[in-house]
Amino acid sequence: MTDQTLNVVGQSLLRRDGLGHVTGKTVYIDDITFPDMLHLKMVRSPVPHARLRGIDFSAAEKVPGFVRAFTHQDVPKNIYTILCLIGVGPDEEPVLAEDKVMYVDQPIAAIVAETEAAASEAVSRVKLDLEELPAVLDVEEALKPDAPILKDWGTNYFIYDYEYDQKNAYRKVRFGDVDKGFAEADLIVKGRYQTSPTEHAPVETTGCVAKPEPDGRVTVYTNTQALFFTLDNTALILQVPFQKLHFVGGTVGGGFGGKVDVIVEPIATLAATKTGRPVKYKFSRAEEMRASSTRGAWRMYFEDGVMKDGHIIARKVTSYADSGAYNRHTPYAVTKHAANVAGPYRIPNVWIDAYCVYTNRQPGSAMRGFGVTPASFAIEVQMNKIAEAVGMDPWAIRLINAYRNGDMKPHRKVVEDATLIEVMQAAAEMVAHPLPEEFKKMSSSDREEAKNG
């Protein structure tokens, strides 16, 4: 029997939320308000690295409308790491700074007040006693022996699979014999690639409203991109059972990965619980640009062994992800990076070391293909360099190296559903780039077909 309601494939459907958007009826976080709502503003670090010796709230407390200040001592489980939910550890990021600050604009203390203006005024009157420490702002500088050490465990890099190998400073991929490949290659093509940190810059800034309910639960209206993930982390940080929190979300005024960090909800929920009143914590534009996480910067070194006919026979890559001061999502980004940085090409000998490095920069985190997008940038510039070095068409260099279904990727996954060749053939046609007949005949399944007869 055919289900007559299943008729949307091939149709162009209007957005369900579109009418709300064009009439201005969609409710975003900043549109939510309650009569007795308090506003939360954050005291932030003015320097990239310092010992925090004291906080003086006395002038702030005198601001009319000041209600209460919160420090790390008020947060039940202050040290956390977002990806603890998928087994990443150890915990290393404070909700509010304890004895050290590690990046400019790091949250130190929260102030709630009757109005946004009063909260901002009180924040401006807080006096911090800071002893500035040398900052490290470059990934390779951070790995030098004399660099200031940022982590309690004594390194400036994330340790992967700690339970198996406590010295695992990086994600590594070993496939074939890269030295043998270099020895056999006609030429070596090297490249150094650097990307910049990128701010997501959503038009709606990050924010939430936490409202205590008469039944003892807290309703949290939030524009997070990761509702249940944020609920779970908030419950863990506040050490409350999950069912005490009711998260309401789904409407996000632009996110791009910038709203998956659990940043505003725990402290707003804590403030709402402690004051018994709804609390709004919404980033200003300046906070969104300066304090929120970025797509972290990457540095990548490539060394490729290439034959005169354009075949790449060896690739060695060393990558450094700038995680900033804390993990956020970068340990995961580095894993994705290591799996992808050999590119969509069949290279028999591959050697990859990818480091998740800490610096005194704002934390890098999720953003649209994080870990992989910088890899693609480096890979494809490198491919053009190779084409130039062997005097071949950049289209040809990609087509002859393109992986096919059935090929083994360096991280031991078999290629399935490859479409690189077909996409390039279609693209060549669209831009009227003439491809020789042999490339027009290629297909992603030709090797498999040849093997299977």
Partner: protein
């Protein structure tokens, strides 16, 4: 400083408000009157999400002191919907997929309203110039430009499905 009583017309309705000196039109609309279709993306005149019409011309309400609109005519997105349905600009934005997260849509639609009221058949270049003060981070500007072109045609009574042509 003492608050002042200000009178102006909001979406065709005579409105009287009491405001503190230098309170912005954005704060008045959103926080005091509950007109939240006007968004607050940056509060510094950088993003255009708070655009409203003052006597038919687009202004960023975050930079406009309420005292400066005394005796004048303010229109927000809430004020352009006709009683029998959407304004043609709203229909054009909706049907051309010119909205994604929706946060810039209000400002985009208000600028479009001002443009089409002044120039019923703008060129593509004139549309682009009109929208330069409005920042979109996800839809991409092409569907928005198409929606403005489509809205112009709808308002000129030559309704036609631009979407079908371009797909």
């Amino acid at each position: 400083m003492a608050s002042k009583i200000i009178r102006f017309t909001l979406n065709g309705r005579e409105t009287e408000v009491m405001v503190k000196p230098l309170m912005t039109l954005q704060s008045l609309l959103r926080e005091q009157l509950g007109y939240t279709a006007t968004k607050a993306g940056c509060k510094q005149g950088g993003c255009g999400s708070c655009t409203v019409l003052l006597n038919g011309m687009p202004v960023m309400s975050c930079l406009m002191p309420v005292e400066d609109v005394a005796g004048q005519d303010v229109t927000t997105l809430e004020g352009i919907k006709s009683t029998d349905g959407l304004h043609p600009i709203q229909s054009a934005f909706y049907e051309n997929f010119a909205v994604q997260c929706g946060y810039c849509s209000s400002g985009m639609i208000m600028v479009t309203k001002a443009l089409l009221d002044l120039n019923a058949s703008p060129s593509r270049q004139e549309i682009i110039e009109a929208l330069t003060g409005n920042y979109c981070r996800c839809t991409g500007y092409e569907p928005i430009i198409r929606a403005v072109e489509d809205a112009a045609q709808r308002m000129n009574g030559r309704e036609k499905d631009v979407r079908r042509e371009t797909l």
